[in-house]
Symmetry: C3
Subunit: 344 residues, 3 copies
């Protein structure tokens, strides 16, 4: 993106409060924004952060008052809905990635019964298994492995080294970062006197449209049925999604998190970084889990939880505060015990 605040006003048909010639290079959340970036203000809470934000420009939902705005230095763009305007802009200024390749590279190995859609690109050293279907416009960049009976949706991008094993399906417009593994066997063994015996995993993985999965993340296949990831869900790097998880729509899962077997996550939940969720746990829609938490119990919809073991955030913060005071408390109690002549 390389535009001015004036360009943006014209593109979005927005009211401009501030200079028209500020250069805008990227979008950023209001607290992380740097000069040259555009942010958005959808409500009073965001508006109160504008004075200290370093962003050069903000999309503002009409009717939201923005205190401390200096129109001689920075620009506001007033629109009917800041979120929608942002989404529209995103569509206009898509990131430039590698130059797309169309066709089948001579080094790729494509099974005779595989079907490759129009405009798709099968890059160097990719392998496509029997009866696989690659949608129109999909990009398999290099060293990608597609197993038998796999379906890759239209316009999805599979970066180098992605592996999608047999009988799994990926929706349209998905992005799989390098090293993603979809469809490895779930981890399940039965005890026997001869040692652990593998439980066969005859299910698959079903990933819906507009899902993004980060580098080296793993999504295991189900014992029976499918491990599922709902549309628009975004998963960061090095995340483990075990067999039979059911992740809803528009869920956010930050890096290094691990969901054990059969975890359920409701729509719109947000899972912070390095969160671990025990097997069988249900996370309600819209719940938020703080970074570094270990979740051992179900979390109701809409609640904020935190800690190891996780509890409602208010309780977790109170526990942390109490633990910080605990060493001194024990000292004091011991002193008092001695004064009282009581045995410790």
């Amino acid at each position: 993106m390389n535009v001015t605040t004036g360009d943006l006003a014209r593109l979005l048909d927005a009211e401009l409060l501030g200079p028209a010639e500020l250069a805008i290079r990227t979008f950023c959340p209001i607290h992380e924004a740097e000069p040259g970036s555009l942010t958005f203000i959808r409500d009073v809470q965001f508006a109160s952060a504008w004075a200290t934000s370093r962003a050069s420009c903000a999309l503002v939902t009409r009717g939201v008052d923005v205190p401390g705005h200096d129109p001689s230095a920075r620009a506001l763009l007033i629109v009917p809905n800041a979120d929608l305007a942002l989404a529209r802009l995103m569509g206009m200024f898509k990131k430039t990635g590698p130059t797309p390749f169309v066709g089948i590279h001579p080094s790729a190995v494509v099974a005779p019964s595989a079907r490759i859609g129009a405009g798709a690109g099968i890059g160097p050293n990719c392998t496509i298994g029997e009866r696989a279907v690659i949608g129109p416009g999909a990009q398999l960049l290099a060293n990608v492995f597609i197993g038998e009976n796999v379906r890759i949706g239209d316009d999805s991008v599979l970066h180098p080294g992605v592996v999608v094993l047999e009988n799994c399906s990926i929706g349209n417009r998905c992005q799989l970062a390098p090293g993603v593994v979809v469809g490895a066997d779930g981890f399940g063994y039965a005890h026997s006197p001869e040692g652990p015996v593998k439980i066969p995993h005859i299910g698959g993985v079903r990933i819906e449209d507009d899902v993004e999965i980060g580098a080296n993340t793993c999504v295991d296949r189900a014992k029976t049925g499918d491990t599922t990831i709902g549309a628009q869900t975004k998963i960061d790097n090095l995340v483990q999604i075990a067999h039979n998880c059911r992740i809803g729509r528009a869920v956010i899962i930050c890096g290094n998190s691990a969901l054990a077997g059969s975890v359920r996550v409701g729509d719109g939940a947000m899972i912070g970084g390095s969160v671990k969720i025990n097997d069988g746990v249900s996370i309600g829609a819209g719940a938020r889990i703080g970074a570094n938490s270990g979740v051992m119990n179900d979390i109701p919809a809409g609640e904020n939880w935190l800690g190891i073991p996780a509890s409602p955030s208010r309780e977790a913060l109170a526990q942390w505060a109490a633990i910080r005071r605990l060493p001194r408390l024990l000292q004091r109690l011991r002193r008092r015990s001695k004064l009282d002549g009581a045995a410790d």
Copy 2:
């Protein structure tokens, strides 16, 4: 698997208590079982879970009483040993994976001095180094890298993107999921005024028979000698096994766990998900470590530990319960202090 309870009774020569026509599609532990699945009951504890289990059928060790069984709705198969019967069934109903490929794909690069066993399959874009030995029946699916002097045992399966670096050995009938890395240098540096200086790792990795390793898991080579993984050990996805670890036989290590350098794990230990073990720690045979634990001390054989830092599970649970009550306790003590006129 696609059989009836009657088929199973005949195959195992078992006594059938219940309908013969129930369809069975998979095996499952009793608490995770869904209709259509077979489970097993080896003792009273498992038997007590039968009434609430959703399994359609269970293998039962003769002599174990199963309360609440309704033979009009579900089926029990009475056998001399439920575990053994399960192991036998597993052998009969092996999972169907990708169609095996036999021979050397024309795109594979195989060093002249490498030896490829009869019936082995070296798939597209694999690289086999000098003096490597690939056992009969082994499957290297695609994009697999085998370094110099590596040995891959008979009938082992290496999924796409597996890397086994020089001088490491993998046993017979092992399964390495996509993206597994065996033999990367251990992480060891000496301090010097010029900065960290790499400690050379001249050892290897030795993985015994029937080991399974999950997607994107890493097993580092030893400084000297070998990092070893005992027969029948099962390791999940995204696990870190550092240099000079010595893992025993039939150990279970769940996903996202990390074992630092020189950790010892005794036979049959069970390590839950996201468990972190500090360097040099010893885990006794048959010990069990709960999910999300951080282990800083040795764990005696057969004990259950939990928490960060980990302690015997009973103590950890007591500590967690106490921490939950701590904020209120502090409030009360403060109130009482004020009543007493004591300084806080």
Copy 3:
């Protein structure tokens, strides 16, 4: 390494206190050393560990007294600076890895505008994008993907399956272990009524000289500017370095750690295994963070921190000790309350 203590004395021009014919095969830190290994003693603390160390030989900085040395059984090599001597020895006895390959393997796919330096090796099934520059002597072993406009420095080694995406740069003499991913998109989304909207990441990754990165570790590209890793920094396996992190020089990051977005780490800091650092946190130069910590606040230079949430190590250890005593304390208080007739 296969030398005697006498050989080492001659190579380093060192004074030998002990037998000249002891065989030395490797270097080790003093607490981990086994017979046949060389260690180093730079100060009194190391010297006090010599009596119980199993090392056969130690480099000793002249002037450091080594109590309990038995020159009939083991050897000391007195040098002006033990660290420097070690660094020199390391240079002499470099680990033998795979036989280097020079040239471009016929199966590699190299874009016409890419530039490959003299003596570089581009192994089987590598892909090199347009305008990429591979430095002299660099080794890309196999299945390595190099995106457009990438720069790989002189003599760097990229192990099998490494992916470096467009517009990133790697310094000289770097080592990237198998499965490392450099330059995947950072994890950033804006909310909109239509769901999460991707924030474009138009920055890159800049890795300086002599950096080593462990297997399957991920370093994400920046939103704008660069994610940077300073010279001589060493990163272990399965580590997540999110967008816009700025890691200083000679930093040590142990396995399974995760640094969220925009984390700053000062020169020479040491980050233990499985440490998680929240986004935007600053770690001062020379700070040390204990294994399994979750860091939610800035850490001043030179301090030792520990715990979840992390606090200065002394405080964390006091808190842990207090928590261990907490269950009994609560029992006692409850008993006393009852004696007092007070309500719980």
